[in-house]
């Protein structure tokens, strides 16, 4: 076994995912370069990957979020940008783990809509979502629909 020497020790990497009608990853990239100091920024198809000291990365992300708060989403990443163990440029095909993000990108418009609504509505007036652990009985209206579909 060979010795392993880590790189970018003491840094954090974060994804900035943009799902907006007004901003593209390129817009975010330009804005991030304008305000960044000593961080690594990689533009991707879905947004940016930013690597650097935690305080600096958080500062840049806070500024980027102001552009379109309801349509910019952020999460941590374990590997730095372009890491040969994860980067699809070396591996080919989609990056491992991309299927998760790809699925959530289909749901994010609903979440963005929810965030926008909460700017104008009080969250305490909004009903609870259905409890996934609750056993669901067949709704009588749905049963009727099924019977009608069978009869026709």
């Amino acid at each position: 076994m060979t010795a392993y020497t880590p790189v970018h020790v003491g840094t954090v990497t974060k994804y900035v995912v943009v799902e907006s009608f007004d901003f593209t990853p390129a817009d975010l990239g330009i804005r991030a370069y304008e305000i960044s100091k000593g961080v690594m920024i990689k533009e991707t198809c879905f947004g940016l990957v930013i690597n650097g000291k935690e305080e600096e990365v958080d500062r840049i992300i806070a500024e980027l979020r102001k552009l379109d708060p309801e349509h910019i989403f952020v999460k941590d990443r374990g590997f730095p940008p372009g890491d040969a163990r994860r980067c699809r440029a070396n591996l080919g095909g989609a990056r491992p783990g991309y299927n998760g993000m790809e699925y959530e990108m289909t749901v994010i418009p609903y979440v963005s809509h929810g965030l926008e609504e909460l700017n104008i509505r009080d969250e305490n007036t909004i009903p609870e979502p259905e409890n996934p652990l609750e056993h669901k009985a067949l709704d009588i209206a749905r049963l009727r629909k099924l019977i009608d579909a069978q009869e026709s």
């Binding site: 060979t2 880590p6 989403f73 999460k75 941590d76 993000m101 965030l115 305490n124 979502p129």
Partner: protein, 148 residues
């Protein structure tokens, strides 16, 4: 600021929501980062060494596959450190082989056993679901208190 375990542990939406409302998300990226930034022996791609299944014995018995125990070495300490949890129950993206699937079951079991505030959800399927989804998360997270 409360440490909130998110399931699926790689979820972009949950990670963002928890951070957006002033808490700390405990996601798999944090555990992976810790390993790939620690010097040792080369064990690509995730720097999971033969030591991890041994550490996983704390949460899973010795006859449980090493894949589950190795994964639990990542998630177990985070579950122990968590002070609240948000679980999405219909996360098809968290599919996997025996290792991943059983680890996911064990994670959910341990979270249900732990006496912490827990929010159970499904992914929204339309805009009204989205509003309810975000409102439930906001209510839950603001109710935890201690936001930064």
């Amino acid at each position: 600021m409360v440490k909130v375990f998110i399931y699926p542990a790689t979820s972009l939406i949950l990670s963002d929501m928890v951070a957006r409302y002033g808490h700390t998300p405990l996601s798999s990226a944090v555990a992976i980062r810790e390993r790939i930034q620690t010097a040792g022996l080369e064990s690509a791609p995730l720097q999971i060494t033969p030591e991890e299944p041994k550490k996983g014995l704390k949460w899973a018995a010795v006859e449980v596959p090493a894949g589950v125990r190795g994964r639990m070495a990542l998630y177990g300490p985070m579950i122990e450190a968590s002070e609240a949890a948000i679980i999405i129950n219909d996360a098809d993206l968290a599919f996997g082989c025996m290792g991943c699937a059983r680890t996911n079951e064990l994670i959910k079991f341990l979270l249900h056993q732990k006496d912490i505030p827990r929010l159970e959800l499904n992914y929204p399927k339309n805009e009204e679901d989205g509003v309810r989804f975000v409102a439930a998360i906001k209510r839950f997270l603001t109710g935890l208190g201690g936001t930064k």
